[in-house]
């Protein structure tokens, strides 16, 4: 990270100490400065904390399932009764209406049409949704950075070829591409060399979501690399005899790391929305596995009799995506106060 001296005076940043001999002023590295800026953005910090809490909530799923709900996420209790307020109650009433939410340890958020505990499914589903969001963001980031580094470093025909490929993916209707891949891969799974993914694995939606967003991230990063490529320090590195790989990974990459961090955070939010949409259309996470998207899809079938099945997972998605979006914006302001990194949706 190269920050020329004159650029340190940025609005919103703590002022340099005055009245202190220059020798006693401690050097502050860019990460520390970014942290100071982020620390002043209370809303972003709160949202970051909310995201961490949601992750912890989902990680606690096995504890809740074992000690409070006494059931797993995919266990049906359609014909069973449960004692509520001393009264034995059908988990799913004879007319098909499941128990609604209420203050009882089992079925805190009610049951779904198969008598599965919504609270348990919500926690396990959150793990799937967040896991897909994170893993797909990692896939997108790695692929985009590689594409951007190659295109931006070599320029010329490599750049042309990669850019044309990006254009083609870009021109695909994102949802249609996702659904088409999801449905096709669900039948036979995916085999790339030694890598084999089963059709019902959550790695199928992860790979798809990770893949379709590559142009959206690779384009702006490529632009940044192209600009950096012209800078003197790259010329110096070439003159020192450094090879292409070293220049790409030890000269160029560190200079775009703040962009990558911001993109990664905002990308998780986008991925979670796309996962829910794919699952809702039946091309994402496979049943009986829970994700927030599949829970909405299941719940939507019963929206007129049991609306909580639709409402609750949707609220969880909003809370998670919103907190990531706000935190990501805060990170961007902190890491790059003047630049305009924007991830188009």
């Amino acid at each position: 990270m190269v920050v020329p001296v004159g650029e340190l005076e940025v609005p919103g940043e703590p002022p340099l100490p005055t009245g202190v001999p220059a020798s006693q002023i401690q050097g502050r590295n860019p990460w520390y400065l970014a942290w100071l800026r982020l620390r002043r953005n209370k809303v972003a910090l709160v949202c970051g904390a909310v995201f961490v809490l949601i992750v912890l909530f989902c990680l606690a799923a096995p504890l809740w399932a074992e000690h409070v709900a006494h059931t797993g996420p995919n266990e049906n209790h359609i014909t069973e009764k449960v004692v509520i307020d001393g009264q034995p109650t059908n988990v799913v009433a004879p007319d098909g209406t499941p128990i609604g939410p209420g203050l009882h340890g089992q079925y805190l958020l009610g049951a779904d049409q198969n008598g599965r505990d919504v609270m348990v499914r919500l926690m396990y589903g959150g793990r799937t949704s967040i896991y897909i969001g994170l893993a797909a963001a990692a896939v997108t980031t790695v692929l985009s950075v590689i594409v951007a580094l190659l295109a931006g470093y070599y320029r010329g025909w490599i750049d042309s070829v990669l850019s044309r490929i990006m254009d083609v993916i870009w021109a695909f209707p994102v949802l249609l591409l996702g659904i088409a891949l999801g449905t096709a891969l669900a039948i036979g799974g995916l085999k790339i060399g030694p890598l084999a993914i089963a059709g019902d694995s959550i790695w199928i939606p992860i790979m798809i979501i990770g893949f379709v967003y590559v142009p959206y991230m690779a384009r702006p990063i490529r632009g940044e690399i192209l600009a950096l490529r012209e800078k003197e320090f790259i010329e110096a590195a070439v003159a020192q005899g450094k090879g292409p790989l070293r220049i790409m990974f030890s000269e160029l990459l560190p200079n775009i790391i703040s962009t990558i961090i911001v993109f990664f955070t905002l990308n998780i939010a986008n991925n979670m929305l796309l996962e829910s949409a794919l699952s809702f259309l039946g091309a994402g996470v496979r049943p009986p596995n829970a994700s927030w998207g599949t829970m909405i899809a299941d719940g939507y079938e019963m929206i007129y009799t049991a609306p909580h099945l639709t409402i609750v997972p949707g609220l969880m998605i909003i809370a998670t995506v919103l907190s990531l979006n706000v935190f990501g914006d805060g990170l961007r302001d902190a890491l790059d106060p003047r630049a305009k990194i924007r991830l188009e949706h």
Binding site: D167, V168, A171, L175, L176, A180, T183, A277, V321, L322
Partner: protein, 320 residues
């Protein structure tokens, strides 16, 4: 300019060609997706599968199959595997609903985005700005289909403010057309209102510090004139660019979720059905239809830039 137009049009055709090949390959190269085996049924004997294959022309080499399919698309004779219906006709039937939905939503999203963005920017830091910022953040963080389901539940079922049911053609009943589309319009618009109003706000705040704004003030224009004629107008350029791209995406398949939940029989709903039955011909048709609009609007945006900025016409530098 003529060379630029020719180059862009050739590029457009190349991208559409690549997309059709990719969709075709997705469904032919991926294992266990042999359409003949699926159509013949679960426990079909090999002879039946072979006959179905021959009927559909699936025993031909892949390039021949591809060419046949493309020829059928352009002559309007492509038939779906599953239901034996004409794909081009089905897409054509879905166009009125899809365009009614997308154009109406686009009008709403642009109007609200400009209004909200403008209000936010001129009241930056105050209550109005904060409230609008929170609203737009929630808007971009909401799954579209969830919003659709919730609106459907509360507004058409609980308080019965809007009629239930599917698309009503404009020519049959204009009032019914609009009342059935109000909810879908708003649902589809929410996401974009959020994105655009936030973008307009930050563009306007940047523009307010520009020299030409100071000049406009110095020559005695009222604050209102400065804001609308100078700040807002200049801040709209990136928004209009983005609008071109997003409108293409929405027409080209982005409306599939809204159409599915509200049961509007447009192109998106048709695509959804085709996907569930893994029917290749409709999928190729719909994807090409969608990609055509995305590429078309990309190209229109490029033309608009080329008209405004001669550097793009002459050189290769495209705006980021």
């Amino acid at each position: 300019m003529a060379r630029f137009i020719v180059r862009r049009l050739l590029g457009m055709i190349a991208v559409l060609f690549a997309i059709s090949v990719i969709v075709f390959l997705i469904f032919n190269v991926i294992p266990n997706s042999d359409p003949a085996a699926r159509i013949a049924g679960k426990n079909a004997d090999p002879a039946l599968i072979a006959r179905v294959s021959a009927d559909l022309g699936l025993d031909q080499p892949l390039p021949v199959q591809y060419l046949t399919m493309m020829k059928q698309i352009f002559t309007g004779q492509l038939m779906s595997y599953a239901k034996d219906r004409n794909v081009v006709q089905q897409i054509w039937d879905g166009v009125p609903a899809t365009f009614s939905l997308c154009i109406g939503a686009a009008v709403i999203w642009m109007a609200l985005a400009v209004l909200f963005g403008y209000m936010s920017a001129i009241h930056a830091g105050k209550f109005t700005d904060r409230a609008l910022t929170i609203l737009s953040l929630v808007g971009i963080s909401m799954p579209v289909f969830w919003l659709a389901a919730i609106l459907l539940y509360f507004l058409t079922f609980k308080i019965q403010l809007f009629p239930t049911g599917s698309y009503v053609p404009l020519t049959e009943n204009p009032v019914g057309w609009a009342s059935h589309l109000i909810l879908p319009w708003f649902t589809l618009a929410v996401l974009f209102v959020g994105f655009y109003s936030r973008m307009l706000r930050s563009n306007m705040l940047d523009a307010m510090n520009e020299d030409y704004v100071r000049t406009a003030r110095a020559k005695g224009l009222s604050e209102r004139q400065v804001r609308i004629r100078h700040v807002l107008r200049n801040s709209m350029i990136p928004i209009v660019t983005l609008f071109g791209l997003d409108f293409g995406q929405v027409v080209g398949g982005g409306a599939i979720l809204t159409e599915t939940v509200y049961n509007l029989n447009g192109v998106g709903l048709y695509a959804g059905e085709a996907i569930r039955s893994l029917d290749l011909p409709p999928l190729i048709g719909v994807t090409l239809f969608g990609a055509f609009f995305i590429v078309l609007f990309n190209t229109i945006v490029d033309f608009a830039y080329a008209v405004l900025d001669p550097r793009i016409r002459l050189g290769e530098a495209a705006p980021a």
